[in-house]
């Protein structure tokens, strides 16, 4: 924990924000793309003859998509950027471990993505007349925290994987949509075939998200929520453990291949 100095966190935030996020174009990532997903959902719903789109899954779900793609995109961008700028080997060569840096960056990325989710929520309330009546606030709040936590764990895991090799970038590309579709970012898990529902159980995000959506829909069933929360936390911790185990290997492997400095 000594590794997570506030000074380091602050500097990393400043650099991340200045290098990347405070840019008009990140609007595309955090606002327009989620809005497009929401629009597709609404238009599909319209084409199917529904008068009103589903506000939780279609509108707030768009925000979840923004949070997630923002996270995947930023993690990829961070590490490829570092390779490209030649700063990756300077970071690795410093006494601060790459994993610490990645943990901090992922935190920043998750928190930035929260902007998307917040915006979607506001849009649901202000534009589409989403009513907070009946919402299980404590359930939704706790679930949101756990959702962010599980996203953070997956993000740190991905960042480690990305550092491994230049090529892992294309695999992460390959993971972004599968996770979105398995975890039911814009529809309830139940529309998936049974075996996919089972498969999605290995992703912690799925449990936290399901608990959050159910709470937003008014579910107050404590045992249901507790099992979902426990699953989210437990599987997240498993991912963290795997990351810890991988990290040493990745660190050795990138120093063996000379891939640190190549672009």
């Amino acid at each position: 924990m000594k590794a997570l100095r506030w000074g380091l966190i602050k500097q990393q935030m400043l650099v991340t924000l200045r290098v990347r996020a405070l840019h008009v174009l990140s609007l595309g990532l955090f606002v327009i793309q989620p809005a497009v997903f929401t629009a597709v959902g609404m238009l599909l719903s319209h084409a199917a003859g529904n008068a009103m789109p589903d506000l939780v899954y279609t509108v707030i779900g768009g925000g979840i998509m923004g949070l997630w793609s923002g996270l995947v995109f930023s993690s990829t961008y961070d590490i490829t950027g570092d390779r490209y700028y030649g700063t990756l080997e300077l970071i690795v060569g410093s006494p601060t471990s790459l994993t610490t840096i990645e943990a901090i960056r992922t935190l920043i990325n998750v928190l930035t993505g929260l902007f998307s989710l917040g915006l979607a929520f506001v849009a649901a309330l202000a534009i589409f007349g989403y009513s907070l009546q009946g919402v299980n606030f404590w359930g939704a709040g706790i679930s949101l925290l756990l959702l962010l936590f599980s996203m953070w764990c997956i993000g740190v895991f991905l960042a480690n994987f990305l550092a491994w090799s230049r090529l892992s970038g294309s695999f992460v590309d390959f993971l972004e949509m599968p996770i979105a579709f398995l975890c039911g970012f814009m529809y309830p898990i139940r529309v998936l075939p049974g075996w996919l529902q089972t498969l999605s159980g290995v992703i912690p995000i799925r449990w936290a998200l399901q608990a959050m959506n159910e709470s937003l829909l008014g579910n107050r069933d404590l045992p249901f929520l507790l099992t979902h929360w426990a699953m989210a936390v437990g599987i997240s911790l498993v991912f963290l453990a795997i990351t810890g185990w991988l990290q040493a290997r990745v660190h050795d492997s990138i120093r063996l291949s000379g891939e640190l400095s190549s672009i």
Partner: protein, 266 residues
């Protein structure tokens, strides 16, 4: 004259290969297929389940639309990234500083992406036909291939346009990505263009792809040449306009960068 043409052709092919090879040092067939089809495939599944949830009963419509968008997305982002990469690798000023004719250099960047997009889409159709039991019996394959090829070419015009933007701004590809995602609403991929609000319909018909995708859908429904001819003609026309505009942009920015020296700034 002939010598000039031959030289241009050589330059064109060479440029095309360099541009493609420089970006993808793909090491395995699996890497190729997964990098090309992975993202669109899972995106498609996502849309299908979104549709299923809201009671949209025609998943095949989504499947076909998404497969048809693959060559377009591929050649668009291919061309954009090819130009953007050269800017970041610093090779662009060598290319533009050479006395080589501009048109082959410019068009050369798109050839392999167009072929690539075409091949991926055909592969995509084969896979989709297997998984979703597309009924291929009544389809005129020649016409379907023609439609797909045309889609790959016309969308390269959009690629040049965004490629030129990535010459001005190092973030051109973010604009491209945003725009690409908007295509999922606009050009009739997941639902008919007719169900869009009328303002969006106007935009949709001002874009390449819209008519081409409609034509391909007609072919898949068993329509004949006469039914799709006006659509294809429109697609060619719109596509040509975008390629021309893209080329002009490229020249304009080349000129501009001579005075401002911003070409290789990253």
């Amino acid at each position: 004259m002939i010598k000039y043409l031959l030289q241009s052709l050589r330059l064109y092919l060479y440029q095309a290969w360099l541009s493609y090879h420089g970006r993808y040092s793909i090491t395995s067939p699996f890497g190729y297929i997964s990098s090309k089809l992975g993202f669109p495939f899972f995106l498609m599944l996502f849309f299908i389940f979104m549709g299923k949830f809201v009671g949209y009963t025609n998943p095949l419509y989504i499947v076909i639309g998404n497969v048809l968008l693959i060559p377009a997305a591929g050649s668009m982002s291919g061309v954009t990234n090819a130009i953007g990469d050269e800017r970041s690798w610093g090779t662009l000023s060598y290319v533009l500083g050479s006395p080589a004719p501009r048109l082959p250099i410019f068009m050369g960047r798109s050839l392999f992406y167009i072929l690539d997009g075409f091949v991926t889409a055909v592969l995509g159709f084969a896979i989709a036909a297997g998984i979703f039991h597309l009924d291929m019996a009544t389809i005129n394959f020649g016409m379907l291939l023609l439609c797909i090829f045309l889609l790959a070419i016309t969308s390269s015009g959009l690629g040049f346009l965004f490629g030129s933007i990535s010459l001005i701004s190092r973030d051109g590809w973010i604009i491209l990505n945003t725009f690409l995602s908007a295509l999922y609403i606009l050009v009739g991929v997941n639902f008919p263009v007719g169900s869009l609000p009328s303002a969006l319909q106007t935009i949709a018909f001002g874009l390449p792809l819209t008519r081409g995708i409609m034509a391909a859908r007609l072919v898949l429904a068993g329509a004949g040449w006469n039914a799709i001819r006006p659509l294809l003609a429109g697609e060619v026309l719109v596509g040509a306009i975008y390629i021309l505009v893209g080329y002009l942009c490229f020249r304009l920015i080349e000129k501009r960068s001579l005075t401002s020296g911003t070409l290789d700034a990253i």
